[in-house]
C-alpha cells in the first residue's frame, strides 16, 4: 500500500555511476542454496574474536569509535544541535523519538518492496557503529522473473546514525553509491 509522500522529505538522489559499482550480471545463483531443510546454526566464534580485537584497540587507546564514544563530544553536540548537514536528531528520552519512526515509515513505499522487509529494523548486536536503525521500503525495488527482488538503497536516507562525532562524519560523508540488496526467489516466479 502506498502512503503519502512527506511534504518535507528530500528527493532521493541515486549515484549516476552505478554501472561501475554493480556488475551487470550480478544475480546470485540461488539454486545453489536450495538444498537443505535443516535448521541453520550460526557460529559466533569469529564474531566474538573480532569484538575482542576492537576491545584491545579500545582499551589500549581511546574510545573514538563505539556507539557511545565521548570522543570530541562537544563538537558532535554542536554539529547536532545546529542541524549541520540536514539531519534530524531525536532522543529516546523525548516524545519525538517514536514520532520519527512514523515519519520514516510514511515516506511512501516502493510498490515492489518485499513484504518480509517492510517496517523499521534495529541492528541488534551490531558492534560497528554508527548504524543502528534502518528501513528498506524506500529502496528502488523490482521483482525478478524468478520471484526474487533486487533493490537499491542509499544509506543516507531513512538510516539512522549515532549522535557522536564518528556518527556525524559517517553520516555526512558516507559513500554516494547505494547498496544493492538481492532477495532470493520465493519459488513462485513467472518462469
Amino acid at each position: 500500500m502506498l502512503t503519502p509522500v512527506a511534504a518535507t522529505a528530500r528527493r532521493w538522489a541515486p549515484n549516476a555511476n552505478l554501472a561501475s559499482t554493480f556488475p551487470p550480471n550480478g544475480s546470485i545463483p540461488w539454486e545453489r542454496f536450495a538444498t537443505s531443510d535443516k535448521p541453520l546454526v550460526f557460529n559466533s566464534t569469529s564474531y566474538t574474536a573480532r569484538a575482542g580485537t576492537y576491545s584491545f584497540l579500545w582499551g589500549c587507546g581511546y574510545d573514538c569509535y563505539s556507539h557511545r564514544t565521548q570522543c570530541c563530544y562537544p563538537v558532535a553536540q554542536c554539529l547536532i544541535r545546529s542541524g549541520a548537514g540536514g539531519a534530524e536528531w531525536a532522543s529516546v528520552k523525548e516524545a519525538g523519538f517514536e514520532a520519527m519512526f512514523e515519519k520514516v515509515l510514511k515516506t511512501g513505499a516502493s510498490p515492489d518492496t518485499p513484504p518480509s522487509l517492510l517496517g523499521l529494523w534495529y541492528m541488534r548486536g551490531n558492534i560497528a557503529p554508527p548504524e543502528t536503525l534502518f528501513a528498506l521500503h524506500d529502496a528502488e525495488w523490482v521483482k525478478t522473473a524468478e520471484g526474487g527482488y533486487i533493490g537499491l538503497k542509499h544509506q543516507s536516507y531513512n538510516w539512522s546514525a549515532d549522535a557522536t562525532c564518528w556518527g556525524w562524519v559517517w553520516w555526512r560523508f558516507r559513500p554516494a553509491a547505494p547498496f544493492r540488496f538481492e532477495v532470493s526467489p520465493d519459488g513462485n516466479g513467472s518462469e
Binding site: I28, T35, Y47, L152
Partner: protein
C-alpha cells in the same frame, strides 16, 4: 528438492554480506565460551526477524561467520497506517539504557574478553540522527538487473 531456503536470503552489495530470515530451530553456537547474549538473538527473535551473517566461504555459505548481528523489526504501520511498536522495541530500549558497569577506568576496555566487548560495544547512543526521504525513482535499475 527442498525449498527450505527459498525466499529467505538477502545478499547485500554483491559481497559476502548475507541476511537470513530466521526459522524455528535455528540457533547460534560459540565454541569458545558461554554465549547467552548471542544465542538470545535467535531465541528471542520472532518469525520475521533476520540474521545478518558473513561466511568464510561465501560461495557455499559455509564456515564460521566473520560478522553477525540481527535485524529485528521494532515498528511498522498497520493496515490503517497507524504506527505499531513491536516487543523488539523493548530490546532496543534495553540496549540504550544498559549500564556500562564493565567499562574499565578512563573509559577504556582493557582486558575484556570478546564477549564482554560484544556486550559493551552494543550499548547504543540514545540520540539517533535521520535524513528522511521518499522512495527512489525507478530510473537506475535497468543497469543493475541480470540479463
Amino acid at each position: 528438492m527442498s525449498l527450505y531456503h527459498v525466499g529467505k536470503w538477502v545478499n547485500i552489495a554483491g559481497s559476502q554480506q548475507w541476511a537470513y530470515l530466521l526459522q524455528p530451530g535455528d540457533r547460534v553456537t560459540n565454541a569458545q565460551e558461554s554465549d547467552a547474549t548471542l544465542a538470545s538473538w535467535v531465541e528471542e527473535s520472532k518469525a520475521g526477524d533476520w540474521m545478518r551473517y558473513s561466511y568464510d566461504d561465501q560461495a557455499q555459505l559455509k564456515g564460521a561467520g566473520g560478522y553477525m548481528y540481527a535485524w529485528e523489526k521494532i515498528a511498522f504501520l498497520d493496515d490503517e497506517g497507524k504506527l505499531k511498536l513491536t516487543p523488539a522495541y523493548q530490546s532496543f530500549l534495553v540496549d540504550v539504557e544498559r549500564a556500562k558497569a564493565r567499562r574499565a577506568p578512563c573509559g577504556t576496555g582493557c582486558c575484556w574478553s570478546g564477549m564482554q566487548a560484544t556486550e559493551a560495544l552494543t550499548e547504543l547512543s540514545e540520540v539517533q540522527g535521520w535524513q528522511i526521504a521518499p522512495p527512489a525513482p525507478i530510473a537506475t535499475m535497468e543497469r543493475t538487473m541480470p540479463p
